[in-house]
Amino acid sequence: MNIKKVIRRTEAYLNSDERKRKEKKKYLKQVIRKLRQHEKALKMELENSQSPEQSKQLKKDILLAYSQRKKGINLLKGLKKKSKK
């Protein structure tokens, strides 16, 4: 690693905004992962569901988890863009 790269990385580390962004990204990814698992579990449940009422509820839950996950991915993209700048 050349010296310029080391200086840039040290600067980035010492920059508290960047550190906060990194942390935010880490936790957002955690929640998104949980939501994806939840969505998968709900889809499995829907496949096995016999009751129309339960299926309706499950579809709603899946759509909700999907919307929350999509919101998270957009936030993550925004943070990544800011980091690049």
Binding site: S16, E23, K24, Y27, L28, Q30, V31, I32, K34, L35, Q37, H38, K59, K60, D61, L63, L64, A65, S67, Q68, R69, K71, G72, L75
Partner: protein, 608 residues
């Protein structure tokens, strides 16, 4: 009167001692520097507790052996059993751990504290410890001036260790020089009389310094300079072990009954172990000799033998008391009784002991706000003329509504005064006191918890507005209006049921975020109601005043849901603060909820 005289007397005795001997001055300064080092170390460790603490505690104290190990490891790292016991009391007061887990930690702390003797006797006396102290102090102090909380914490830990080492160095130097002028061994007392006398001296010294670790270092340095006999040093160590409980007892004075029980367990353990050690002191000495020869410790290396003694007698204590932990817990619960039926409006977790750490203060506020919600949920259920236990049961909502056709005479105002108002006031008061040493994230969380309390109160007030019409229309002759109000009851009861379900499953971000479905359901209900309301009016199935009431009350029901969901998202998540923030950022706002409904409709149309 006596209290007022204690401090000047100590000052006078010390000043006289300093005037008489410069070596005594060096020893006393060594102790002072050592104690200052411990304070810095405590400050440093507090910086690292943020957020992770609750999680760590949950996974490390769910079994007795884990609590024991937690006690051993944390005391070994922090080098202070007193600090660990005070922190454990604050954990317990904030409702983070059970009494059995707390007792396990205390027992472990007693084992962990023995590592201090080994470090000082094995390392501190052999190498020139002050050479390590100087760079630690310099680096430590530079780091203390940094803005970052973590770097500051590392700085305090480094400076703390530096001061500890420097203190040990001065004590050692002082005793070495002291040896040339006065021979303290001339005051040695042999036999059981000596054992009792020196146990008392050790106890007194620890009570004054509030640190058994400091006493032990003092004993070891004095022993290495041959200023006390080995036999008397053992008795001093026993005394120090009993004396250390005083810090826990002082810490428990501001705690709730759980905290006092834990301090009681600490006292029982240390006093019982001390008594056993005194009774079998000669047998123990032989055991120490035997163990030392096995470990290859020289016959005349009394400092290391003292470390062996300290470890053996604390291990014996743990082995003796471990089988009786559950009995001890029962004994403490029967002797130190909590209020038989604590009044619902009385705070259960808000106490000064929980102020010890920012995390425990936050946990205490969270637990108490949950208590507030429990009281509020009963009122809200009553306002809907339903029983909370029915809502939490497995029965279908239709069954519950069918069972509860009669309006319950619930005085929401009175119940609010009795079980909510004072409790909410106590929470707000506590929050204003707790703000002192919190980070910006912790302060924000505290404000969110306060807002959750406000949401609960708002939900009660909205329920009260709703109650008047609801009580009359659920038994009305008009089946249409009755049906509409039953729908409102089902909606709100489902909210309470879902909140109960999420709370019991908790801790998973996806589950917490699933509370957004309640907003979705409510929004859908609101849209459906608008359609059915027009139809009901058009067909003249309900009167104009009925429709106005229904519109207003569905608005109240909407607000109750919104407030309770908001509250649930803050209160039910037990994750660390940064994860909570990420969870909150993914929760859907009103516009996003409407978008989801639109998407749902589009999907339905496509299928058709």
């Amino acid at each position: 009167m006596i209290r007022k005289l204690v401090l000047p007397s100590i000052f006078a005795v010390l000043a006289y001692g300093f005037w008489l001997s410069s070596d005594f001055k060096e020893i006393a300064a060594g102790v002072a520097i050592f104690l200052f080092g411990m304070l810095a170390l405590e400050e440093g460790f507090k910086a690292f507790t943020g957020g992770l603490l609750e999680k760590l505690l949950k996974t490390t104290t769910n079994k007795l052996w884990k609590s024991l190990s937690f006690g051993v490891v944390s005391t070994t790292i922090m080098q202070s059993s007193s600090l660990v016991s005070v922190i454990t009391i604050s954990f317990l007061s904030a409702g983070l751990i059970s009494l059995t887990a707390g007792v396990g930690i205390i027992f472990g702390a007693n084992l962990g504290t023995t590592t201090g003797a080994w470090l000082v006797a094995g390392l501190g006396l052999k190498v020139k410890i002050s050479t390590y102290a100087m760079p630690m102090l310099v680096f430590g102090v530079i780091l203390i001036f940094q803005k970052s909380k973590e770097l500051k914490g590392i700085g305090y830990v480094l400076a703390g260790l530096g001061f500890l080492f420097l203190g040990i160095h001065h004590m050692k130097e002082g005793f070495e020089a002291f040896k040339d002028t006065i021979d303290l061994t001339a005051y040695a007392v042999s036999g059981y009389g000596g054992v009792f006398l020196f146990t008392l001296i050790g106890l007194f010294a620890t009570v004054v310094m509030q640190s058994s670790h400091a006493t032990l270092v003092l004993i070891i340095t004095a022993l290495s300079a041959q200023q006390i006999t080995y036999e008397n040093a053992l008795a001093l160590a026993i005394g120090a072990n009993i004396g250390t409980t005083i810090t826990a007892i002082l810490g428990s004075l501001s705690a709730n009954v759980e905290g006092r029980r834990l301090a009681g367990a600490h006292l029982i353990f240390n006093a019982a172990t001390g008594l056993v050690a005194i009774a079998f002191i000669y047998q123990l000495t032989s055991l120490v000799d035997f163990a030392s020869s096995l470990l290859g410790i020289a016959e005349d290396n009394y400092t290391l033998k003292l470390a062996v003694f300290h470890t053996i007698f604390n291990t014996i204590g743990v082995l003796l008391m471990l089988p009786f932990i559950s009995r001890m817990v029962v004994f403490l619960e029967t002797t130190l009784k909590s209020e038989l039926t604590p009044h619902a409006s009385k705070p259960r977790y808000l106490n000064k002991a929980a102020f010890e750490l920012p995390d425990t203060a936050l946990a205490a506020v969270r637990q108490e706000t949950l208590h507030l919600y429990d009281n509020a949920a009963k009122i809200i259920a009553g306002g809907l003329s339903l029983e909370l236990k029915d809502i939490h049961s497995d029965c279908t909502m239709d069954e519950i509504i069918l069972k509860s056709r009669k309006a319950l005479a619930v005085d929401i105002d009175q119940q609010y005064q009795d079980t909510v108002k004072n409790l909410y006031g106590a929470i707000v008061d506590y929050i204003s006191l707790a703000q002192g040493e919190l980070s910006s994230e912790q302060t924000e969380e505290l404000f969110r918890l306060r807002a959750a309390g406000r949401d609960i109160v708002e939900a009660i007030k909205d329920t009260k507005h709703l109650q008047k019409n609801l009580s009359s229309y659920i038994s009305a002759d008009n089946p249409y209006i009755q049906h509409e109000y039953d729908t409102i009851r089902i909606r709100l009861a489902s909210v309470l049921r879902e909140l109960h379900r999420v709370r019991s499953r908790g801790d998973d971000s996806a589950i917490i975020l699933s509370l957004d479905r309640l907003k979705l359901d409510m929004e859908e209900y609101d849209q459906n109601l608008n359609n059915s309301l027009s139809s009901l009016i058009r067909k003249k199935l309900i009167s104009a005043p009925m429709s106005v009431s229904l519109m207003n009350d569905s608005g109240y029901a909407y607000d109750v849901t919104r407030n309770l969901v908001q509250m649930g998202e803050v209160l039910f998540s037990n994750s660390e603060l940064k994860l909570k923030e990420a969870e909150r950022s993914l929760s859907l706002d009103e516009d996003e909820v409407s978008d989801v409904i639109e998407q749902q409709k589009t999907l339905k149309e496509e299928r058709l």
